[in-house]
């Protein structure tokens, strides 16, 4: 087994994943970045997108995150996400439904706060649709 780095994915209501991985690719705001063991320490904002966990040169798990933060040190990579789930089990149809309802919300939003929120939800849903390849 190759060298591993400790990967953690945490959402506000639970700890989704905490396991050693060989490589993980995180969608940073300024582009995706791969994290291998002994990565230089960094903090980054994460955009809505897909986190890929690689093993043996192949993608083993694909996880969707709705934006958040990543902290990388030499021996671990922690991602804090406001929402996160495994992409397996999410159909293209479900994703498009979500996008549709997010767009409806945006159209109905009347105040500044609701609009901002709905726009963000649309962005997340778009990323989700793109992720499932719909």
């Amino acid at each position: 087994m190759a060298e591993t780095t400790e990967f953690e994915l945490v959402s506000p209501d639970r700890l989704l994943i905490s396991e050693p991985v060989e490589m993980v690719v995180v969608p940073g705001v300024e582009g995706d970045f791969g994290v291998l063991p002994r990565h230089a320490p960094m903090l980054s904002t994460v955009r809505p997108g897909v986190i890929d966990i690689h093993e043996g040169g192949k993608v083993r798990t694909r996880l969707f995150v709705a934006g958040g933060f990543a902290e990388v040190t030499e021996e671990r990579c922690t991602v804090l996400a406001e929402e996160a789930f495994d992409l397996e089990g999410v159909s293209g149809e479900k994703a498009r439904e979500r996008l549709q309802s997010a767009r409806d919300d945006l159209a109905e939003a009347d105040d500044e706060f609701a609009k901002g929120r709905a726009a963000k939800a649309v962005g997340v849903a778009e990323a989700l649709v793109a992720a499932v390849g719909g």
Partner: protein, 297 residues
């Protein structure tokens, strides 16, 4: 001396009360388990959030132009207190403890000549605080925590706090909630939300283990990350306060209802004893009357 009929009806009323309290106890117990899990699983996020903020805050604090959520507005004159309580009663001293704690804080601050305003999360504490501090209450959130507390329910509360801060309505924000320790012990806890208190331990760590000393790269800049991270932190802290408080509520209710059930049981025993004695006494009295009547002949 109550009549037999009175006693009978009292016994039956206590019995039905006991049924209700024991049912409430069962419900609270089953919800407690879920709520406790939720409270415990919201801890990792908050812990890691603290760690990240500690790292960031250490490198940004003291710089001019640090975000207001971190550095404060430069004044501590106006305070906002977010008080988290339950929406329902019958949970022992939980809400009055919180209210007492909040009142003490209000008095302290007012004695120092500060302006205080209150944001109530949960109906019960509003009802209690309304009596003395009616004018200070800004708003109440009561539409949450029907089954469990969800992150989406914490969002409007956090948004309101952030909006008020943006609107320059207060300088310091403190949240008061019941921290869940066990079913019989809940601790009223005060926590400062704004400005973010840089944890002492963050600095200690830097001295201690080499890892934290490492120089981080930031992507994008520290300021931009902080600008996103700090509001998220406010949100998660409020969410955490709400989940902890919800677990506390279920725990407190379970204990309170357990006591009530036990008391009702004792009362039923006492009343039944009294009922039997009275019945005996009446039979004896009737017998005496019959016998003495027969002897008189």
């Amino acid at each position: 001396m109550p009549s037999l009929k009175d006693l009978r009806s009292r016994i039956s009323s206590v019995k039905s009360t006991k049924k209700i309290t024991s049912a409430m106890k069962m419900v609270a117990a089953s919800r407690l388990r879920k709520a406790q899990e939720a409270a415990e699983s919201s801890r990792p996020f908050a812990e890691r959030m603290d760690r990240m903020l500690g790292t960031l805050a250490g490198s940004v604090a003291g710089l001019p132009g640090a975000p207001k959520l971190l550095a404060g507005t430069g004044s501590t004159q106006r305070h906002l207190i977010v008080v988290v309580s339950s929406n329902r009663g019958l949970c022992g001293g939980l809400n009055s403890n919180i209210a007492r704690n909040a009142r003490a804080l209000i008095r302290e601050l007012q004695a120092d000549g500060k302006d205080v305003r209150i944001l109530c999360v949960g109906r019960k504490v509003r009802d209690i605080l309304k009596r003395d501090h009616h004018k200070l209450i800004v708003d109440t959130f009561e539409d949450w925590g029907r089954r469990t507390v969800t992150y989406a329910e914490a969002e409007p509360v956090a948004q309101r706090v952030l909006d008020m801060f943006e609107g320059d309505e207060f300088d310091v924000c403190t949240v008061i909630y019941n921290r869940f320790r066990s079913a019989i012990s809940q601790i009223p806890t005060r926590q400062q939300l704004i400005p973010f208190p840089v944890p002492e331990s963050a600095n200690d760590n830097e001295a201690g283990d080499g890892e934290a000393k490492a120089i981080y790269e930031f992507e994008p800049s520290e300021e931009e990350i902080l600008a996103d991270l700090l509001p998220l932190n406010v949100k998660t802290q409020i969410f955490r306060a709400m989940t902890e408080n919800y677990a506390s509520e279920q725990g407190a209710r379970m204990t309170a209802m357990d006591n009530a059930t036990r008391n009702a049981g004792e009362m039923i025993d006492d009343l039944t004893l009294q009922y039997n004695r009275t019945r005996q006494a009446m039979i004896t009295k009737e017998l005496i009357e019959i016998i003495s009547g027969a002897e008189a002949l």
